[in-house]
């Protein structure tokens, strides 16, 4: 499987690639899932979400994808009545934001290793904490 396109996250004024798919959790919890089309082998899930953390809350602010039939997906495709932002209250878990130099490329999923990972913990959509994991052996981990 090809390495997959990451989601996007705006956090503390910086843009990050996010190697976690909180929207997948929404679908697994029973949320209506449109029929996305995998337009590329690097995008099997068929969409890319743009996220933002505001006041420690995780929001989905944009959704790009193609639906079966050729129409473009938007935020309202999944969340009718919410064209601008959606609070991700359903999500509890850890999102991973890779940073720095690519250390090891793996041709599959999000398995490639970067110099460091910022790990942000969420409980029902609210940021509860975070750490920085250094993947080069000489560095110690730190708390965000």
């Amino acid at each position: 499987m090809t390495a997959q396109f990451a989601e996007r996250l705006l956090y503390q004024g910086e843009n990050y690639a996010m190697c976690t798919n909180p929207l997948t959790d929404y679908f697994e919890l029973g949320g209506d899932q449109p029929r996305f089309v995998a337009t590329s082998t690097a995008l099997w899930r068929g969409y890319i979400g743009s996220w933002e953390i505001v006041d420690k809350r995780l929001y989905l602010v944009a959704l790009e994808g193609v639906l079966q039939g050729g129409a473009s997906a938007t935020l309202e495709t999944v969340f009718p009545g919410f064209p601008d932002r959606v609070f991700a209250h359903w999500y509890s878990g850890t999102v991973r934001l890779p940073r720095g130099e690519l250390l090891n490329y793996v041709h599959g999923g999000y398995a490639s290793t970067f110099e460091m990972d910022i790990l942000l913990d969420f409980e029902r959509g609210i940021l509860t904490g975070g750490t920085v994991r250094h993947n080069k052996p000489s560095h110690a981990n730190s708390i965000v």
Partner: protein, 190 residues
């Protein structure tokens, strides 16, 4: 012998067709992804992993694929047919046992507990927020004799990870019925 040659030639044709189709689909790769892949491969050819991957594993994989092409074709066709059936059951395969039940609640208590508030109004002011339709479907399956219990299921997964799944389940005459999930969390086993 002719049958063997025919079989192998068909294998080459099937594998080539699949590869060409993958290459055709990859034309749609976003420019960022192409740059990322090219940048990583520029460094890779210098290391032994690249040599092993491209000079050993790849040829062996091609030979194996040509020999067992009916399996690959069957897999590809079954994936194509499965796509027509639509999304799989979102409730998954959680097995809830009596020991997983936490407390019995009524509908009003649950709805009060699961109201979601947001200062930016980015969620419906309804129980379970954006998952309110899932809650409505859950209630449709409940009868006058149904008890609703909260639950928390811990199951051991591979690599020493524990998966915790929580939610509410409808219990009728002691039998576990439909459920609604609140979330899944992973943690490493102590």
């Amino acid at each position: 012998m002719n049958y063997l040659y025919t079989y192998l030639v068909l294998g080459v044709l099937v594998i080539s067709t699949i590869q060409l189709r993958l290459l055709y689909k990859r034309r749609g790769d976003h420019a960022e992804q192409r740059d990322f892949t090219a940048a990583s491969r520029t460094k890779n050819w210098r290391n032994s992993d690249w040599v092993i991957d491209h000079l050993f594993i790849l040829p062996v994989a091609c030979v194996v694929a040509i020999c067992i092409w009916p399996i690959g074709l069957f897999w590809k066709l079954s994936k194509w047919f499965d796509r027509e059936e639509g999304p799989s059951n979102p409730e998954g395969s959680v097995v809830i046992r009596p020991g997983d039940l936490i407390e019995r609640l009524n509908i009003g208590e649950i709805e009060a507990r699961e109201m979601v508030a947001d200062p930016l109004k980015a969620v419906p002011e309804l129980p379970f927020g954006h998952l309110h339709p899932v809650w409505k479907r859950f209630l449709q399956d409940c009868t006058d004799h149904t008890e609703i219990w909260s639950f928390n299921v811990r199951s051991k997964q591979i690599y020493g990870r524990i998966e915790q799944t929580s939610g509410y389940v409808a219990v009728t005459n002691g039998e576990m019925g439909t459920h609604i999930l609140l979330g899944k969390k992973w943690r490493v086993e102590d």
